[in-house]
């Protein structure tokens, strides 16, 4: 992937707020509750999930995470508006999300209409955990490769609509964010050197998990992350920075341990270090790295993305 460039145009992480289980939802299963009906196979699974979540909330001492007051798609539109660019000449629009909106909504179409992007292909990518942007970049490269001066917009937006789903067993709490990244076949802040994904997961279906299954999956993803890092070093030689998905404490420690074997710097962002910002997580770390340090041209950065039920992947950028 040698002729695609990426620039982070806008990245919005909202104000942090305390979260709790007190969202008005009763502990008992409500038969007409579409949320529980869709996400959990039986009322017992839903009750167990909420009980585990309450325990974790009690142990967490008022956790705070970034929370959008508006929907993910509206937050994305806000980020695009903040960019202040004329988007009518965009060739592609990729809208990536891990979380769902409660109401029926097609964000990519809404963005196309609102910003008069009449001639562009628009695609929404999900069902990949936090890894959807890697799929988008591969599709962008195949769609934009043939002509120079092609332009694309990569939008990654997540808002966790149900408070329960901010908890993921012993993983970091899930927070909201929205970003707009510009893709170009001719120039940008970073050249995309490689985007690679490895899909995997433990056999048991995610709605049936308990903490034991989470730990097994966490170990599996940690092993894959270490293996992929080794692969990246073999292919690319020097990697100057690794920016790791804040999936969980154990996962991040496994990646950091691997980085210690080389001269690669394992960068930890100061803001929201214990929050998983989902699809935007490593990009948020990149933004903070850019603000804290001078990144010399030619530097290689590896953004490691992970979804506990979906797999691990990485994006290698060259400044």
């Amino acid at each position: 992937m040698s002729n695609l460039y990426l620039s982070i145009g806008q990245l919005d992480v909202p104000k942090s707020q305390p979260i709790s289980c007190g969202d008005g939802r009763g502990g008992d299963f409500q038969p007409q509750d579409e949320f529980s009906e869709v996400f959990f196979p039986t009322p017992e699974h839903y009750r167990e999930f909420r009980a585990g979540m309450r325990e974790q909330a009690a142990a967490s001492a008022a956790p705070e995470v970034p929370v959008f007051t508006e929907s993910g798609s509206q937050a994305a539109i806000g980020a695009i508006q903040a960019l202040g660019m004329n988007l009518t000449k965009m060739d592609c629009l990729f809208y990536c999300h891990e979380t769902l909106e409660q109401a029926y909504m097609l964000p990519s179409l809404k963005i196309k209409r609102q910003f008069e992007m009449n001639d562009c292909i628009s695609l929404m990518l999900s069902q990949s955990g936090s890894l959807a942007s890697l799929s988008a970049l591969r599709l962008a490269e195949s769609a934009m490769r043939k002509q120079p001066d092609k332009l694309g917009l990569l939008v990654v937006a997540d808002r966790v609509e149900f408070a329960e789903l901010r908890y993921q067993f012993t993983g970091y709490l899930r927070g909201d964010s929205a970003s707009v990244m510009l893709l170009s076949s001719s120039a940008g802040d970073y050249r995309i050197v490689e985007a690679r994904k490895f899909a995997d997961g433990i056999p048991l279906s995610y709605p049936l998990w308990k903490e034991r299954e989470y730990r097994l999956a966490e170990k599996l993803m940690s092993d894959h992350a270490q293996r992929l890092l080794q692969q990246a070093w073999s292919i690319h030689g020097r990697i100057d920075y690794v920016l790791c998905q804040r999936l969980s404490d154990a996962f991040c420690r496994a990646v950091e341990d691997k980085c210690r074997q080389t001269s690669t710097v394992f960068f930890v962002r100061r803001q929201w270090p214990d929050v998983n910002l989902l699809g935007n997580d490593p990009y948020a770390s990149l933004r903070q790295l850019e603000r804290e340090r001078e990144i010399p041209p030619g530097s290689k950065l590896l953004l490691l993305l992970a979804g506990i039920d979906f797999g691990v992947g990485y994006l290698v950028l060259e400044k």
Partner: protein, 324 residues
């Protein structure tokens, strides 16, 4: 269909360059059935007033009678039931698995783990979820496949997997259609035997949320015009006339709409192949199921050109030209 031949070039009798080949298809249709009357009974329990005359008109004019619905299998199991026959008979490495889920809004967990662990040809496959072109998402998957194969023909096949399991009863019967559950698998190869696909056309819709009541009403009453437009566009792209095309394999939408399209295109109704009466609307798998039935019934012969066309809620259109 069966295993693809690796080295066969993709040109048809008129020397058109094909984009890829549809090498194999398989599907899973649940045995249980949900009828229009079952749907009406459910809606009456929700407080809606539906008369017998309305039910009869719905069945007579739109052609919907019944649709399959899944009572036993999970989504993962439905996918496995659809994919297993195809993966058992095709061992080509798969570079990308495209998941089409136009009708499922609640799925947010990995539904492919069992397949990934069982089939060696899927290890290393990239998994994309192509959604939100609503019921025209299958053709967006075909469009993305053209780009991926254009970029490289050496990285393996593409598997398009679709599943619908409408867990919420209110999604099954609406004013305009009866939806069913199903799963399907469609294998695309850059080379080889099978149906050659020459052109793909996609059109974005204009309704992106339910608050646009005017847009929804406009779509529901005029989508047949969009179907006509899409067919005319694909023929123009391919430089063919409708007479060159043996069959139009379409979405299982209202039969009345297809009659109108046939009238507008001045084409015989027999040119349109749908299964609205038999299975209702399968949001993500209409084309894959209908095409398999067309082949099984001998409606297509070697060398025939045919068009596939999906109409998606909100004005999305997807259309492609193929040759058997």
């Amino acid at each position: 269909m069966g295993n693809a031949v690796a080295d066969q070039a993709l040109t048809g009798p008129t020397n058109k360059q094909a984009r890829f080949a549809i090498a194999d298809l398989s599907h899973y249709i649940p045995e249980s059935r949900f009828s229009v009357r079952d749907g009406a009974a459910h809606l009456r329990r929700q407080g809606m007033t539906i008369t017998e005359a309305q039910i009869e008109a719905f069945q007579r004019d739109y052609g919907f009678m019944q649709a399959p619905f899944e009572t036993e299998l999970s989504v993962e199991e439905m996918i496995a039931a659809a994919c297993t026959p195809l993966l058992d008979r095709n061992s080509l490495p798969i570079q990308v698995l495209m998941f089409v889920n136009g009708g499922n809004w609640g799925l947010q967990h990995n539904v492919f783990k069992a397949l990934l662990h069982k089939y060696e040809q899927l290890r290393g496959a990239d998994i994309y979820s192509i959604g939100k072109q609503t019921c025209a998402s299958f053709h967006m998957a075909l469009r993305m496949a053209t780009h991926l194969f254009d970029a490289s023909r050496d990285e393996g096949a593409i598997l398009i997997v679709a599943v619908d399991k409408l867990s919420v009863n209110s999604h099954k019967l609406t004013e305009f259609y009866l939806c069913g559950d199903s799963a399907s698998a469609c294998l695309l190869t850059p080379y080889g035997a099978g149906h050659k696909t020459y052109e793909v056309f996609n059109q974005d819709g204009y309704v992106y949320d339910q608050s646009n009541a005017e847009g929804v009403a406009l779509f529901n009453t005029t989508f047949f015009l969009g179907i006509r437009g899409a067919i005319q566009s694909i023929l123009k792209q391919a430089k063919l006339s409708l007479d060159d095309v043996k069959l139009i394999v379409g979405s299982n939408v209202s039969l009345k709409a297809w009659e109108t399209v046939a009238y507008l295109l001045r084409a015989p109704l027999e040119k349109f192949y749908v299964k609205t009466r038999e299975v209702g609307h399968l949001p993500s798998s209409d084309i894959q199921y209908n095409l398999a039935q067309a082949i099984a019934e001998g409606a297509l012969k070697q060398g025939d050109y045919y068009i596939t066309i999906n109409v998606g809620y909100g004005g999305f259109m997807g259309c492609a030209l193929h040759q058997y």
